[in-house]
Symmetry: C2
Subunit: 453 residues, 2 copies
């Protein structure tokens, strides 16, 4: 067992939740006196094959992390005891604060490859040390918001709820997936903690085990309805879906006399379109036209589109694993790269991983109907036609004003989905959305290459 | 902003990190007086197409979670304020403790579909409430340990290091992926916090940005070597890999006079086999035969096998995203299901999701060389030939003795990989490993079905 002080370290805010080389780099920078201003940008190199656009998310968690970034006592003790760091480095760790600036595209904005999503301007050791966690936070929520946006488009206006905590990759992933999917247009989540933490609407009905533990399905339905009279949604697939639907009809009449209305039923297995049609017919014949059908169980964009195509009479969906793991594309090819140091533009030229140097901005153009037509990535101080995407969010280590609340980011995402080119709204990935690299940027890259020989 | 008390809730240990329906179920069970003993089992229904076996992991975190499971003040305040729960339920939440028993296969054990990995025996409301987080913890570490085991087999004895924190799904995923991959045979992780938290060896050298921030690659190499003389591993792909290797040769001679030895170089992009051969030749010609070559950049089992096939002169590998997201299979079709309540076996018959009822055990048989030949899933009290896999780990809510330390789980995993059938060691997935369902279990399932009609 580690000492209690160590086990009390919260990984979500610990500066030790970083690649060891970041700490090594910090000491080396100090020894070389390299503490001038560095500019790093976070961007996605290329999209997964099944993505045509991304929705930026995670900025609020990055800002919180940067504002609170310090080494605690247990962490400093470990750093000293590790024997890996000089006394000067340890003293620097102890005094560490993030004092830099951050520019970023607002959460909920549609973004594309090569576009900076966040820019950090800070003394080099600070900008370096925060790298791993900044990537970790932006990568994950952008990944999930982008997946969720596809599901929202595929659901054509039907209600979606995040059911994916159990298969999310750990605690933080489950909680932040609830946030990111709500931001992208989900109605809410089954994850209870998302309500107190982020103000999300949370949803929950009944478990299969509740039905199994009772001596009959009817008894379980009745017990649940009496326990939750305000939200009677009955899970009907534990044994035989259509037989259970007929039990619901019989029960609903009895419950009505008690003043309890059945609101919905949930399907969670089998051929959902077929079951939904049969269950709808049973409910309608039983005079339960107002009872809704909610479906879950292995859903993703493909199945949602197929259910829409089949005109399955389903009113809402719970989406779990495919959402919270972004199962078809569980990672983004993203990076946080040095673009300028001590006033000089910098560039990495590694094969397949070359970067565009300098401080950049993205300008977006729209057609007469307000649909996005293309972006251009420029140097920060250029002013081509279009709307600039990056804005200043932190200065001297503190946020500027307040960040937009989650509801506003959600509205922005909804607007962005409306403004996407039609092929992207249809979830096509080809041809890609046009992102042009401005001429001044191309020229600067060539100049940096010449200088570095 | 949520009230401070709420933002201080640690999602990793909060009982609100659960599906809302678990809390609803608890109240309904209390109202129905259903507090008798329930038995739930966690198992995997079927393997992802690219997996032939799994390595069980995450038990230690489950035991910690169960021992510490309680609602804190901020959580109880929210539960009361939500208006969703009765006073009796809130009082029950306030007094909540896990008082049950747990049986499980030890961490590091190879497991297969339909085999219970963990069994919980507890009063029904307790066993229900913990469902979501138990699945969340076991699913993730088993997922990662299983992916890591494949990488270990593909690397044929070469050193592997986890580089995947930045693209892991959040903080906990990064930290627990370090643990799970070490358990499965990785040498360690780049994730610093894994050292104080789990005693893992941690590794780190230098960043591309360190090189870019210097005015020349040579200057960066020299500065790094002087800052970390005990571990000079130089990253040589920032601009031109072979040119950088020649710079290393020139520098090594100068450093030698200062008493500093270059230990290794790292490749991170391009055709790794081709670069490794060219770099090896340059180093050898430069009398740096003892300098090792370490490679990273988009590696997975396929690329490791291809590099081995190509006899690329690479001494060790950093594996990132493919490991910590289990990119080719980012989720397991796993479940935690009620198998018995109040002394009666229970069964779910949903299409494609039917379960085997009752308390179960798994017996494993071996051939004369000690290789696994097949498993049988039986009722707990049967005693067929073979080694039983599940053992008692918690009783009355407390662990029995101590859990095996991580080093022991790692040894077990290594032994398990040696004992796998040869086709599974070669990463084949067909034919599947034989898992037989014992006759008494088949009979019990039929009896339960008859009873439930």
């Amino acid at each position: 067992m580690p000492p209690r002080s160590v086990s009390a370290i919260d990984p979500g805010s610990s500066l030790l939740l970083t690649d060891l080389y970041e700490l090594n780099m910090l000491q080396a920078y100090l020894e070389a006196g390299m503490t001038e201003t560095a500019v790093f940008e976070f961007f996605v190199r290329r999209l997964p094959p099944t993505r045509g656009f991304l929705i930026a998310a995670g900025l609020e968690q990055v800002v919180e992390f940067l504002e609170g970034a310090r080494f605690g006592e247990a962490e400093l003790d470990w750093l000293a005891a590790s024997g890996r760091f000089s006394r000067a480095a340890i003293a620097h760790f102890a005094a560490f604060r993030f004092t830099g600036s951050v520019h970023a595209v607002p959460e909920g904005t549609a973004v594309f490859p090569s576009e900076p999503i966040l820019r950090v301007t800070a003394p080099l050791p600070e900008a370096q040390l925060i790298e791993t966690r900044v990537i970790n936070l932006l990568n994950f929520q952008t990944l999930i918001a982008s997946k969720a946006a596809r599901l929202v488009l595929a659901a054509s206006g039907k209600m979606l709820v995040d059911f994916g905590l159990r298969r999310a990759h750990g605690a933080e992933a489950g909680l932040l997936a609830a946030r990111a999917s709500y931001l992208a247009g989900f109605a809410g989540s089954a994850t209870t903690l998302a309500a107190p933490r982020f103000g999300l609407p949370v949803f929950g009905t009944m478990a299969h085990s509740f039905i199994q533990a009772h001596d009959s399905e009817e008894a379980a339905f009745a017990a649940f309805a009496r326990s939750r009279p305000e939200n009677v949604v009955l899970l009907i697939d534990t044994f035989d879906t259509e037989a259970a639907a007929r039990k619901v009809v019989a029960l609903a009449a009895r419950l009505k006399r008690e003043g309890i209305a059945v609101r919905g039923v949930r399907l969670d297995s089998g051929d959902l379109a077929d079951h939904a049609r049969k269950v709808r017919a049973i409910l309608d014949e039983g005079n339960l036209r107002e009872v809704t059908i909610f479906a879950s169980g292995g859903l993703d964009e493909e199945t949602l589109l197929a259910l829409a195509e089949a005109r399955a009479p389903i009113d809402g969906f719970g989406v779990g694993t495919s959402l919270t793991t972004s199962a078809d594309a569980p990672c983004l090819d993203c990076a946080y790269k040095l673009q300028e140091y001590a006033g000089r533009a910098r560039r990495k030229r590694s094969e397949g991983k070359a970067t565009w140097p300098g401080r950049k901005q993205v300008f977006r153009r729209f057609d007469a109907e307000g649909r996005m037509t293309g972006d251009v990535v420029t140097l920060e101080d250029e002013a081509p036609a279009g709307e600039p995407l990056l804005a200043s969010v932190m200065r001297e280590g503190r946020r500027i004003g307040t960040l937009p609340p989650l509801a506003e980011a959600r509205e922005r995402a909804a607007r962005e989905l409306r403004r996407l080119p039609e092929r992207l709204r249809r979830l096509a990935t080809e041809p890609p959305y046009p992102v042009e690299i401005g001429k001044a940027l191309v020229d600067l890259a060539a100049a940096v290459d010449r200088e570095e020989g």
